[in-house]
């Protein structure tokens, strides 16, 4: 069964297994090249009963496991209305993600999840949504974007501000037309344009500074490197959007994903349980402390 659309309640993994370490075999159904070094993997859980029970909310992540290699926490990037097919968009940067990059369609991969607090789409219904994504950060928002597109009438103005270093670093470019078709504004900017680039040049915060804002309830949902998100929060504040209107998805070292291994701690929080999506007012002070 699918979770109710725009849920703020999060589906948990315990409906799948009592053992937090137990994985489920998945099969790679499709692989797509996205930006340089980044691929998307569509996975289907092999066990039909587990596949049918599996549900997630946008912003949650799975632990992907390759035997003998290890596990990595990866956001779920596909439409929550069709959880039978789970997309993970991954940059090959480490042990596990490099090994993932060597897999082909039909290969087996193990997963457990979903974990973490989702984007609070249900709470934000009725207002404006501003997605702000730096590079691969858009991967943690794609599920939310697809969910919002499906329930577009529940929101007022919806905007995606997406920035990348270069034009080839913009994620999911082939989908922007469909998102615009659904009534979502998509604005992109790059730091280092090439000769073909005719769009904005600069940081996503520049787009935010220029964005026309209606005086209605708003949610800024951002994902990217920590300094970029801090910059977005600062920029939002300048536009009158306080820390309680800004949500960000943090990344930390994760191993167990159930608040028992301690590796992802951030101040008093377990990023796996209390996040990865945090409202900015809960973490503002902590983000300003070096090496926390």
């Amino acid at each position: 069964m699918n979770p109710s659309p725009l849920t703020t309640r999060r589906p948990g993994p315990t409906t799948l297994s009592a053992d937090p370490w137990q994985t489920h075999a998945g099969s790679i159904v499709a692989i797509r090249n996205e930006t340089p070094g980044v691929r998307s993997y569509d996975l289907s859980i092999v066990d039909a009963a587990v596949r049918e029970r599996y549900a997630f909310a946008p912003g949650q992540f799975n632990m992907l496991y390759l035997p003998g290699i290890g596990e990595a926490a990866i956001s779920i990037s596909s439409d929550p209305a069709t959880p039978q097919l789970l997309t993970h968009t991954v940059r090959a940067v480490g042990n596990v993600t490099d090994a993932l990059a060597r897999l082909v369609v039909g290969d087996r991969i193990f997963l457990r999840g979903p974990y973490g607090k989702p984007w609070p789409l249900g709470d934000l219904a009725g207002g404006d949504l501003i997605f702000v994504a730096g590079g691969l950060g858009l991967a943690s928002q794609r599920a939310a974007i697809l969910d919002v597109a499906r329930h577009r009438d529940r929101f007022r103005r919806v905007t995606i501000l997406h920035g990348a270093k270069t034009p080839s670093g913009l994620l999911y470019p082939s989908e922007y037309a469909a998102w615009r078709e659904a009534g979502i504004d998509v604005e992109c900017t790059v730091d280092a344009p090439d000769s073909a680039w005719t769009g904005a040049v600069g940081f996503v915060t520049d787009l935010l500074a220029k964005l026309p804002l209606d005086p209605v309830k708003k949610g800024v949902l951002c994902c990217g490197p920590d300094p970029m998100m801090a910059g977005v929060a600062k920029g939002a504040a300048k536009r009158g959007l306080g820390p309680e209107a800004v949500w960000m998805s943090l990344e930390r070292n994760m191993s167990c994903a159930v608040g028992q291994c301690g590796l992802c701690q951030f101040g008093p929080y377990f990023v796996c349980l209390d996040g990865p999506v945090f409202r900015y007012d809960r973490i503002e002070k902590l983000l300003s402390v070096r090496c926390l």
């Binding site: 994985t23 290699i69 590796l263 008093p268 929080y269 809960r282 902590l286 926390l292």
Partner: protein
Amino acid sequence: MPTPVRQIGDRVILAPEALQRLIEVLALEYRVIGPTVADGAVVLRDLASADDLPTGWIDEQEGGHYRLHRDESAGPFDHVVGPHSLKNFLFPPREPIARFERVAGVWEECAPAAPERPLAVIGMRGCDLAALAIQDRVFLRGDSGEGEAIDPAYQRRRNGLFLVAVDCRRAAATCFCHSTGSGPAACSASAGRQADLALVDLGPGPTDRVAPGGGPRRYECRIGSARGAAVIDAIAADLPLWPSPPEDVAAAERVPVDLERAMWAREGSGGGPGRSLDMENIRDLLYSNLEHPRWLEVADRCLSCTNCTLVCPTCFCASVTEVADLSGDAVTRERHWASCFSLDHARMHGTSVRHTTASRYRQWLTHKLGGWIDQFGTSGCTGCGRCITWCPVGIDLTAEVAAIRETPAPSTGGVP
């Protein structure tokens, strides 16, 4: 099964030879663990007989200092806690959490390994039982809808665990359980510290013991569970046992009371003969002092060696290693203790979030005494003093907290 003769709450006197019978009776059903002398310290290991107990040894502990001395008047439980704790057995340093096999080119997850023999642990103190209650909160949280989990291996060992508690008659200079509410009384109904059997040694003891022992060695034993009653019944089949006389009950109950009073009385300020930790508002104190200069100062002494986290009876951080056999077709996922003092702990994208010793010590102390309260509704410190004793440079968390308390940063509203 015969009808139990004794009931929960009954109290009996055990003669010294009953300890041997206790180990034998427990060994029928359990793997029996208890204190013994090895490598110059009292550690927890498998006990074959009561002769393995550290009778005649007492310890001397200070910051960065641990020595055992012979003392012929010392009973088997007159030592204070050594480097090991229940954590070593319920949450072992290494354990497999999953196994995978590749058959005909296809990986499959294997069924979990068969459960081990249940554990009986003898000689646990107030701080040990307090640590157990804290680890229970970490590993047995269940799912409240917020994504927490139960660790199945911990739960299995915990459910099977048979505990024999013993009250301390002396405290090491590093002990401060009286100030953290975790001792010295081993059992405390109000604090939720329970044991199947709770012993108090009423015999003679070393000269620095607080509670006087009189007459021949004997143990006043309180039965705390039906399993405990069955074990006492089994001992009584071979040895004469008699109900505790009122004067022995009174003497037994005085032991932790007298020790606690003595611990409060001996207290010096930071590094004196006794230590204490002022727990008042400690979470907010630490979180509003994340940029305190003391973190840099302690980092000049701290070796980032991880000893404090390994001997801590509540530290629970762990990471997982893939262990493959030579064929590469069988993989065991092995969980092992991790430490926030290692660079790997907060590793992300090939670098560490906490790349300075100051940031790692701050992580440990603010988590232990602050973040833990947010996460589990309790501080992570039991006042056992192990982190002080086993720190190679003698860093004392009670002194570090006192230093911050003395010169707190002007409030920046930095409390998350």
